[in-house]
């Protein structure tokens, strides 16, 4: 009976622990921040999560994270054009913020390294639980990012684009954003680069009363990169959050979405498309807490699996005991296009209130033969017909976004993926 003995550390675990020792003197932070870092690395020392940890059931990080690259001070990432022209761009190159942040009325931007140094960000650094490996890893190593504060009542005309670009090595960034009461904004989170990096990125959004935010995560890492990301949000009274997640790259990707409705009338929409190709592993895990009465949510996830790709969607909706009148719906649809690919999904409902309407649906299938026949009967060759159908399957989710500039920008990203992975 040796189940409780500590298993031997994997090379990746050892590399992370060693790297922490080496980086410690370079990491910004006051006493409180450094204490949190120490606690966080302790969690890493206990071992990366395996499939025995329920929330990591389909992504055995301990096994999948086979190697961890060293920090690379010489890495030089290149800036990219924003997806919507005229956006306010806040850029992080190899995990380092820029000293010259653009100025927008009503928006205050601070480098996170400064907030770490003065300790004002410390309370937000705690991982949410013992299985929060991404939170722990990020808290241990986070060195920079941006803190963005959008003042009450400000309605931004142009999106803010947060670019996190890597060129190998390791980057650990954090993006806390506060949106004031009644403010409106579109925020784009770009995750891209060219190297075989390990990135951890944690976005934390707080929406004030009546605020409306559309947040787009566009993840296009190269198929050599490991990308571990977390998006956390609190949605206040009558506030609306639309989160759009597009995963179109990465070798090992885990995108966690942790959302809580904290005020009555809050509304959350999640729309996601996962375009999976090659020999890659992509996991989107959502935990949604309906914590107060009268809140609503809908989630639609569409997945396209090709090659030897493995995809995962876990979505859990928790309805707390006092959250009466919750209305929550979730759908996860997958097109499994290759016999070597696989997709696993676990849509969960945890419901403690009785006056609710909650539902989820999940499907896994190949392309509908009737649809294919319909197109081919009109002279479209099979390959093009398949392409059309697959694209329509995911584009449907994008088109729901209403904002023309964003829909066009995302469709352009989609086209690019289809050109490369056709």
């Amino acid at each position: 009976m040796n189940m409780h003995t500590q298993p031997q550390r994997t090379p990746a675990e050892t590399a992370l622990i060693d790297a922490f020792g080496e980086r410690l003197s370079l990491l910004p932070g006051d006493g409180a921040v450094m204490l949190k870092r120490d606690d966080a690395i302790e969690a890493v020392k206990h071992g990366l999560p395996t499939r025995r940890i329920e929330s990591w059931h389909y992504t055995d990080l301990r096994r999948l994270l086979s190697a961890v690259p060293d920090f690379d001070p010489a890495a030089a990432a290149q800036a990219i054009a924003p997806i919507v022209e005229g956006s306010t761009v806040l850029i992080l190159l190899n995990g380092v913020s820029s000293a010259k942040a653009p100025v927008v009325d009503g928006v205050s931007v601070q480098r996170l390294s400064e907030k770490l140094t003065d300790g004002s960000i410390a309370p937000g650094l705690d991982p949410y639980g013992s299985d929060d490996a991404i939170g722990a890893l990020n808290t241990a190593f986070v060195a920079d990012g941006y803190f963005v504060d959008i003042a009450d009542g400000i309605e931004l005309e142009k999106p803010i684009e947060l670019q996190n670009l890597q060129a190998g090595g390791q980057t650990h960034v954090r993006l806390p954003v506060r949106v004031g009461a009644g403010a409106k904004a579109v925020i784009v989170e770009r995750q891209a680069g060219e190297g075989a990096a390990l990135t951890s990125s944690v976005s934390q959004l707080v929406l004030g009363e009546g605020a409306e935010v559309t947040w787009l995560i566009v993840q296009e890492q190269p198929d050599t990169a490991t990308h571990l990301a977390q998006f956390k949000a609190h949605i206040g009274k009558d506030a609306k959050l639309t989160l759009f997640v597009m995963n179109a790259g990465g070798r090992l990707v885990r995108q966690e979405v942790m959302v809580k409705t904290t005020g009555e009338g809050a509304d959350f929409k999640l729309r996601g498309i996962n375009l999976l190709a090659g020999d890659t592993h992509t996991d989107v895990t959502m935990v949604l807490d309906h914590a107060v009465p009268h809140t609503t949510s809908t989630e639609v996830i569409r997945n396209v699996v090709t090659g030897k790709a493995r995809g995962v969607f876990q979505g859990r909706i928790n309805v707390h005991q006092y959250a009466q009148k919750t209305n929550a719906k979730m759908a996860c649809n997958t097109l499994l296009l290759s016999d070597d690919g696989e997709f696993s999904t676990k849509p969960e409902l945890e419901i403690f209130a009785d006056d609710v309407v909650c539902g989820h649906g999940a499907t896994v299938t190949e392309i509908d033969h009737d649809h294919l026949f319909y197109l081919m009967a009109r002279g479209v060759d099979e390959k093009s017909a398949r392409g059309l159908l697959v694209k329509a399957f995911v584009a449907e989710v994008i088109e729901e976004l209403d904002d023309e500039a964003i829909v066009e920008a995302l469709e352009a990203r989609l086209d690019e993926w289809f050109v490369t992975h056709g």
Partner: protein, 505 residues
């Protein structure tokens, strides 16, 4: 639906936590000493007059069990079970394998009579010539009105009687207790026992493999359609005992069998453990239909007492075009941990799972199914209806997976939950895993309370609220009830009404 009115009448008569099968019976018993050790296993094996290979099999399982830990992943909470504080063997005295009903302790027969289990009636129908009119009348009053059902009655650790054996034997069907099968048909038992649920399967199945005391054995040979419904009735009577039964059902090529299982236990303040294993094997073109009405004592209104029900049930569609169908109505037990599964190994095989799980008081249910698609063109269907009331927690946990070679695997899953009251919880945890592009999986789940509109609609036709709710609940579970054999359907409907008593209004 007359049954609905019947449900309401019954509900009216009964207080909230009254469990109608909660009586105890004083019967002289033969018990093994308390606790678990290799000696106890040897004792059980000797009591059963088992061959040495069986003892070895048990001991191997026991040694394996010692290395395992209790699983904690299910959404159930209970104090740690002291496995040394349980009697692993309790048998009514004077039952060294009764050969006829007259050998059975009349006290036991009374128990079954009280439970409405027609042991005597079956004997009459089996051909023991008795034409006493009064007795026949008694027969027609019985729960199992419609037809002939062969019953294997398991009382604590032993099977006390199996009815209809002769007639079944004429058809070539073997229906007996598993202990008897080990003695009489060792070649069949050796071939199939543990082939679906191996001794190393999980904590409770391994424990069961080591200490199982009785259960039923069914063998339906090639091409035979079993001439009647088979049934086992489990009764836990003795205090502090655990019941560990093992059921093995084999349907050879083209065979068909329908099997029913029922269970009750006396009302006690202590919790009692029930860890069963059921294995089904369906060969080419065979079909097995397995229905359960589980009504172990659920504990009182404060959550004291009740049965811990940790059950491993699995069917293996080993042959092509075979079919296994599970239907369960779960209303009893303090804790239910049960996932009847199908392994769809043969090409074109199919699996079904229909479930109603009703929880009230402080009951905790974590139940569901697994459909493992391995063969080509396999299909499965899951319909699960959970009803949570009082302070109970009701979880559906299920897995559907298609392996690489399972081309054209097809699954449809529907799990709906109904919440009655704001202190209970309903949870849905489905796992879907597709590794084949031709797989087609659909899953849908909903959770809601009885809608005010539905209730209003019924009530404005002059039906009082409680009846309205009973009507709606019965409508909610209809899909599953329809799958039950007729005799059980009526009983199940009543049971659901009774289980929900005190929660509505």
């Amino acid at each position: 639906m007359p049954a609905v009115q019947d449900t309401i009448d019954r509900v009216r008569k009964i207080d909230v936590d009254q469990y109608k099968y909660g009586f105890q019976t004083e019967i002289a018993v033969d018990k093994a000493p308390k606790g678990l050790s290799e000696d106890i296993i040897r004792f059980i094996s000797a009591k059963k007059d088992e061959p040495s290979w069986m003892l070895e099999w048990r001991l191997e399982a026991y040694r394996r069990w010692l290395t395992l830990e209790e699983p904690t992943w299910a959404r159930v909470n209970y104090p740690k079970i002291d496995f040394q504080d349980i009697y692993y063997y309790a048998a009514p005295k004077s039952t060294p394998g009764p050969t006829s009903l007259s050998d059975v302790d009349p006290e036991i027969l009374k128990v079954y009579e009280k439970l409405g289990i027609p042991l005597k009636e079956q004997e009459i129908l089996a051909g023991v010539q008795k034409t006493d009119a009064s007795e026949l009348e008694e027969v027609s009053d019985n729960v199992y009105k419609s037809g002939r059902v062969a019953v294997d009655a398991v009382f604590d650790s032993v099977s006390v009687v199996t009815t209809f054996k002769k007639e079944l034997a004429q058809a070539g069907v073997i229906f007996c207790s598993i202990s008897e099968a080990i003695r009489e048909h060792p070649e069949l038992v050796k071939k199939y026992l543990g082939s679906v649920v191996p001794t190393s399967d999980n904590f409770y199945a391994t424990l069961n493999s080591a200490v199982f005391t009785d259960g039923s054995f069914v063998f339906v040979p090639k091409g035979v359609r079993c001439p009647m419904e088979l049934s086992t009735y489990f009764r836990m009577n003795e205090k502090n005992t655990g019941q560990f039964e093992r059921t093995l059902i084999i349907a050879e090529e083209g065979a068909y069998v329908s099997y029913l299982e029922g269970c009750t236990a006396p009302q006690r303040d202590e919790n009692q453990l029930h860890a069963a294993v059921v294995e089904l094997v369906a060969l080419d073109d065979a079909e097995i239909k397995y229905s359960t009405v589980q009504n172990w004592y659920p504990g009182d209104a404060e959550g004291k007492g009740g049965i811990y029900n940790f059950v491993t049930k699995r069917g293996d569609c080993r042959g092509h075009r075979s079919k296994i169908s599970w239907t369960q109505v779960e209303t009893g037990s303090a804790i239910t941990w049960k996932y009847p599964s199908c392994i769809l190994r043969g090409d074109d095989s199919s699996g079904e799972f229909y479930s109603i799980a009703v929880s009230n008081g402080y009951q905790q249910v974590d139940s569901g199914t697994k459909m493992i698609h391995l063969g080509k063109n396999t299909s499965s269907r899951i319909i699960s209806k959970g009803i949570a009331a009082g302070f109970s927690q009701n979880t559906y946990r299920g897995q559907v997976s298609a392996h690489r070679k399972a081309t054209n695997a097809r699954n449809f899953t529907n799990c709906d939950s109904l919440l009655i009251g704001d202190q209970c919880g309903a949870h849905t945890v489905p796992y879907m895993e597709a590794k084949n592009s031709t797989a087609q999986f659909e899953h849908e789940a909903t959770t809601s309370k009885i809608s005010e509109d539905q209730k209003f609609y019924v009530m404005q036709r002059g039906i009082p609220e409680e009846e309205a709710i009973a009507l709606i609940v019965n409508g909610f579970v209809k899909d599953v009830i329809q799958q039950l054999p007729m005799e059980f359907a009526v009983e199940a409907q009543k049971l659901i009404g009774i289980s929900l008593e005190g929660s509505v209004g």
